[in-house]
Amino acid sequence: MASTILEMRDITKTFPGVKALSNVNLSVEEGEIHAIVGENGAGKSTLMKVLSGVYPSGTYEGQIVFRGQECHFKGIHDSEHIGIVIIHQELALVPMLSIAENIFLGNEHATYGVIDWNANEKRTKGLLDKVGLKEDPKTLITNIGVGKQQLVEIAKALSKEVKLLILDEPTASLSEKDSQALLDLLLEFKRQGMTSILISHKLNEVNRVADKVTVIRDGRTIETLPRKDISEDRIITSMVGRSLDDRYPPREPQIGEVIFEVKDWSVYHPIHAERQVIKNVNLNVRKGEVVGIAGLMGAGRTEFAMSLFGRTYGRHITGEVSLHGKRLDLSTVSKAVENRIAYVTEDRKTYGLNLIDHIKHNVTLANLRGVSSRGVIDDMREMSVANDYRKKTNIRASSVYQLTGNLSGGNQQKVVLSKWLFADPEVLILDEPTRGIDVGAKYEIYTIIARLAAEGKAIIVISSEMPELLGITDRIYVMNEGRIVGEMAASDASQEKIMRAIVRGEGKKAS
């Protein structure tokens, strides 16, 4: 029988006016993978911040016992010292430093401040082998992909002689393939006897690797499920406090004629001019239809969407786009918007929102003409537009004057959606519309998509989550290495079929 490595008892953490955690209990056994799930804002990250000492001892109530010792951490340094290492959702690597430099940052092998690079690189090599990363320790972080960066983070954790590894949403920005590799690595660590805590939104992953699942809701522990009771439905019921019969809203597609068509779309890489990123893509969308584009990370889906939308990506773009049979000029974003095409970007914080401005100004930004005449903004009209969309998309905020930077991921996504809905598009391209948002907010986004389709708009959804595509679209294109390698009705598509199309596409390229 394994012994308990970590015990958190009756943890209560209060922020001014809000009780973020109340009497949370968590017990982790040596050598297990313990998953923590919960909606955004449920308190998972706060709990981990208490555990790692970000919130120092004394600012919360309750007890932390690690390997039989009661702990009072004053900061992250204390918790790392005894072997608790947390890897945050946003990676904390310095892009212009090498892998080795990053791994030993602040912890270098040095005598009197003079770094022994050979020792560092040798140890780095060993650590990289452990995590299965075949890269030169001298490679700069900026030159490797997000998946590999995640592995560097783990190697960094290993360098600190970690006893308890905490991963906060480690696969949020990874492709299916990289995610699988990461989970395999976790299982491998488990075989070697390491204990890990995994925080994740992706229930299938939890389902695959976790020995136990603790569900947190509204700052309380709801329950801890043992391995035999873990199932997605069970977890969801527990997370949302109600049973979600269907994760996708019901809809009856009313599909009309083809209104949006892309023909022979080709794009070259903006820097490496000889590299063709998008290769003769053809696709069409019907009125009232939701079309999905499936594919792995790096398949060229975002590049395709951005090259369509005002040529915001790539060079030597050739091909034809037409709406209602009329050829469109989409050479700038404003022309695309005038032609009633909208693109809801993938990364809402970097590409979607002005985080230091409030909801009202963000909602009207893509269609300032709609609230102004001769360049002068009508404040009242803008106000009612913002309130209108706040209601329509159910943005939870104290008022439209709340800064978008202070909203949760789901609500931020609704602001971005509102912005593009107010631009009144006929064709709406949504790039990873539900990434990093919780189950409840996802459902709301799906409902909005269904409503827009019912209004007769043509919708393209780019998503790396295959169940999502299967759940909300009518037809799916599969993209791989810049090519469309498959097209199928959602009704006879399955995850296996999509994967097969991708693999076949790769085979074709090899021959």
Partner: protein
């Protein structure tokens, strides 16, 4: 930022309960930031009024104050947009110096015939300013060269041209009176003066200074019109907001704000009227300030500049032509630098090689004291103007007190640092 921010619970009920007080609190804190600055200015003015034994508020000194600092404020208007857009412009002082030299050469040295007319020269100079702004903005906007570097180069280049134009270390002047009126002139009294207290005339028939009070009536009338307009538009906006069912600031606060604002304005108008009336340059400044407040608060182009400074990529993907907008921001800066240069030359009555030297730092400091963010996307016109006046009052007050110029710099530096620390502290607390 983590997608999971602990103090923001998702449950609708908790949010609804908090909604009411939160609006009031946010209205109060944003107002405090704005009023805090104005209150700081008033406190600083009262301080110097005391330490200079009443010299600061003397009508003649107020006119001086305005005439000495107007170029800083004019350039701060352009700098505000540059900084909000996420850039910086270090060249404004050199551009101002160069334009002053150009204007002097055109009016005094070069045989241009009717083209040496001050009005023609001024227009040509503003156009040259626009071209300089366009030239710098082009590299920043379309080739993504950091504005710090482009304008640092501009700072060296235009100071050099300025000195070369003036032939080494010499100054060029005197400039025609018509031109000097831009800085040192007063608006004509079309209504005619009103003598409140007849001047006391002594036996020799000489007026005893200070005992008579004659008011410049055009100034009084203009001042009254401005104050009434301010109160009327404030009230109308309020009514409109209420009619649409939106919560405006509490009525008593509005009344107090309007009354205090009007009283202060009327006091200043009275002071100016009892000297020689409204300085021309104050009128120019007032028109420009109103214009820039309108552009930043109400016009789409202003909104776009804020959006670009807040998140350039998101702005671009929302259909904003960020390159063209950047170019326009720098053209605007160039025109205002040129205007600043003309004002400096008009005040000095000649062009000197050191005109505007170091003023870019005063201008940038004014904008930051006014609450703009060095990261872009945040900043207010009124803030920059008040920031400019804080710098100006400190210059003026310390000069009257006889504080050494070296120590004046130290004090100004400390005030700049203090203002920004105060801002950052406030933001973190919120």
């Amino acid at each position: 930022m983590s997608t999971e921010s602990a103090p923001a619970p998702q449950s609708g009920t908790a949010e609804d309960v908090k909604q009411g007080p939160r609006i009031a609190v946010s209205a109060l804190t944003t107002n405090l930031r704005e009023y805090g600055l104005i209150i700081a200015l008033i406190v600083i003015m009262l301080f110097f009024q005391y330490t200079t034994s009443g010299t600061l508020f003397k009508p003649v000194n107020l006119s001086n104050l305005v005439q000495q600092n107007s170029f800083i404020i004019v350039m701060a208007l352009g700098m505000l947009l540059v900084i909000v857009a996420g850039y910086i412009d270090l060249s404004v002082g050199s551009v101002a110096g160069f334009i002053g030299a150009l204007a002097a050469m055109m009016m005094v040295i070069w045989p241009l015939g009717i083209f040496s007319n001050p009005l023609v020269v001024s227009i040509v100079c503003l156009i040259v300013g626009a071209l300089i702004g366009a030239a710098q903005g082009y590299w920043i906007a379309y080739h993504r060269i950091p504005s710090f570097i482009v304008t640092l180069a501009g700072m060296l280049i235009f100071r050099g041209i300025c000195q070369a134009l003036l032939g080494g270390g010499s100054s060029v002047g005197p400039l025609p009176d018509g031109f000097k009126a831009l800085s040192s002139g007063f608006i004509p009294d079309v209504i005619g003066p009103l003598t409140l207290i007849p001047p006391t005339v002594n036996a020799a028939g000489k007026t005893i200074v200070g005992s008579g009070l004659t008011l410049h009536m055009t100034t009084i009338v203009l001042g009254l019109i401005a104050v009434l307009a301010y109160a009327y538009f404030g009230f109308r906006t309020r009514r409109k907001r209420e009619a649409h069912g939106y919560e405006a600031e509490p009525f008593p606060l509005f009344v107090v704000k309007t009354l205090v604002g009007s009283a202060l304005a009327l006091f200043l108008v009275f002071q100016f009227a009892s000297y020689r009336g409204l300085p021309v340059v104050l009128l120019v400044m007032g028109v420009l300030i109103s214009l820039f407040v309108f552009v930043t608060k109400r016009m789409t182009i202003g909104r776009r500049i804020y959006a670009m400074g807040g998140n350039a990529k998101a702005a671009q993907l929302s259909g904003i032509n960020t390159e063209r907008l950047t170019l326009m921001v720098f053209i605007n800066m160039g025109v205002l630098s040129a205007l600043g240069g003309l004002i400096i030359a008009a005040r000095l009555g000649q062009a000197v090689p050191a005109a505007g030297l170091g003023s870019e730092l005063d201008v940038i400091a004014a904008v930051f004291i006014g609450g703009a963010s060095a990261m872009g996307g945040v900043g207010q016109v009124i803030g920059a103007v008040v920031g400019g006046f804080i710098m100006g009052v400190m210059n003026n007050g310390m000069s009257i007190m006889g504080v050494n110029v070296d120590w004046q710099q130290v004090v100004k530096g400390l005030v700049l640092l203090g203002a920004v620390i105060f801002d950052v502290y406030n933001k973190n607390k919120a």
